[in-house]
Amino acid sequence: MALLISIPILGGLAIIQSAVLSNIPLLLGTTDLVLVVLLAWALQDEVVNAWHWSVVGGGIMTLLSGLPFGLYLVTYLGATFIARYIRRRVWKLPFLGMVTATLVGTILVQFGSWLARWATGVYIPVDSVLTLIILPSMLLNLLVTVPIFYVIKDLAQRLYPKEIEV
């Protein structure tokens, strides 16, 4: 059920990202809704299929984006790994973990995109990437972190209800 529901959720978010959020950038940075949702999902204690969600999200973004095939898949899996690692370390402060994961995950995805463009023969100066894309994207992702984290937390609790001992 949790895996099936990931397809419409992540698909819808990817469409919103492409059709709406890409048109409202901060400098050149844009909000990566799919990434933030994947990180929030991976940080939930109840969730057991965070990797599956990353594969679905990465696959959908790979279809939409012109970046080399599989780049989103690899970077989203990497971001999920980071989120799971952070969850084990700061499990008592889930929101702090979410903020940390968002910052690190954004850097990972954007750095991966920059490397991919470099590998395909398009070199973009690092200072431009940092000031025009990575930092604004981090800020935008942090802005949506709070609502997304709590919405995903609620979703996880609905999909994985806690067992009550009688």
Binding site: Q17, S18, S22, L64, L67
Partner: protein, 282 residues
């Protein structure tokens, strides 16, 4: 017998008095008397009636408020619906104007065949200046086909699916276009930039170029047809110790406002890569 006659006397008196009163009333002689009796009654009735009506309206007022609220909500919904309709009509009008100008453009270049497509999204990665359109291989689109608007060159198709295609804009950092500077009659290369600007490179030092010079596609390289407007030179950078001059370009197309584009479907890009391979040639 005597008792019976005594009973009839009061009745007779009553009839006489009643008849007399009626006669007096019909004659108008009782009006002052009746007025003095009726006036207090009317006053009292008016007082009670006003209070009763006030009480009645107070009791019934929630119903009125409810019905007014319902009516207000219905009217607000109607206003909202009409506003949406106005926005839709305005949008359709704008689209019609854009389409009309695109048709004019297509008529002015009758040697080309076009397919119009709506821009439905942008690449989610900020590292790519690509847009997604709602036409694909089912509509005859192929990779490499040039894309224009009535203002000028937009880019070329980089990937196609059955129902959609991805367009690489000319301001993408990976885009290069061979161009011709019309006034200077010299060739150069137009390259994109991550910031969305476009620049001219490889302009010969001998060429005399200045701000305002018109830039069109040269057709060299086989990627684009010749003579499609791109923009005009905004600033020129020329150093004596450089091999080439460079320049900033003001594109004719506003890439942030792309809504409808035309794809030139009878132009097939030519791959000249095999001609450029020199390895192993004696």
């Amino acid at each position: 017998m005597k008792a019976k006659s005594t009973k009839k006397v009061p009745l007779l008196i009553i009839i006489v008095i009643g008849g007399g009163l009626i006669a007096l009333a019909l004659g108008g002689y009782l009006t002052p008397l009746s007025r003095s009796i009726i006036n207090p009654i009317i006053t009292a009735q008016t007082w009670i009636s006003i209070r009763f009506q006030a009480l009645q309206s107070f009791i019934n007022s929630p119903d009125d408020v409810t019905s007014l609220r319902q009516e207000n909500a219905a009217l607000e919904a109607e206003i909202a619906r009409l506003q949406v309709q106005i926005i839709e009509i305005q949008q359709e009008l704008t689209e019609a104007q854009v389409l009309a100008s695109l048709v004019d453009y297509a008529r002015s270049r009758s040697e080309n065949r076009y397919v119009a497509a709506a821009v439905i999204g942008r690449d989610p990665s900020p590292f790519l200046h690509y847009v997604i359109i709602n036409r694909g291989s089912d509509d005859g689109l192929r990779k490499g086909m040039p894309v224009v608007t009535q203002q000028g060159l937009v880019g070329q198709i980089s990937a196609v699916t059955a129902g959609a295609a991805r367009i690489q804009l000319i301001n993408d950092p990976g885009s290069t276009v061979n161009v011709l500077l019309q006034q200077a009659d010299t060739e150069a290369v137009l390259v994109g930039n991550i910031s969305g600007e476009v620049n001219l490179q490889l302009i010969p030092q001998a060429a005399t170029i200045q701000a305002g010079d018109i830039i069109v596609t040269s057709g060299y390289g086989g990627d684009y047809p010749a003579n499609i407007l791109i923009g005009q030179v905004s600033t020129v950078r020329s150093n004596a110790y450089d091999l080439f001059q460079s320049a900033s370009v003001q594109p004719a197309v506003d890439f942030s406002q792309l809504e409808i584009v035309l794809i030139i479907i009878n132009f097939q890009p030519i791959d000249i890569t095999p001609l450029m391979e020199t390895t192993g040639v004696p």
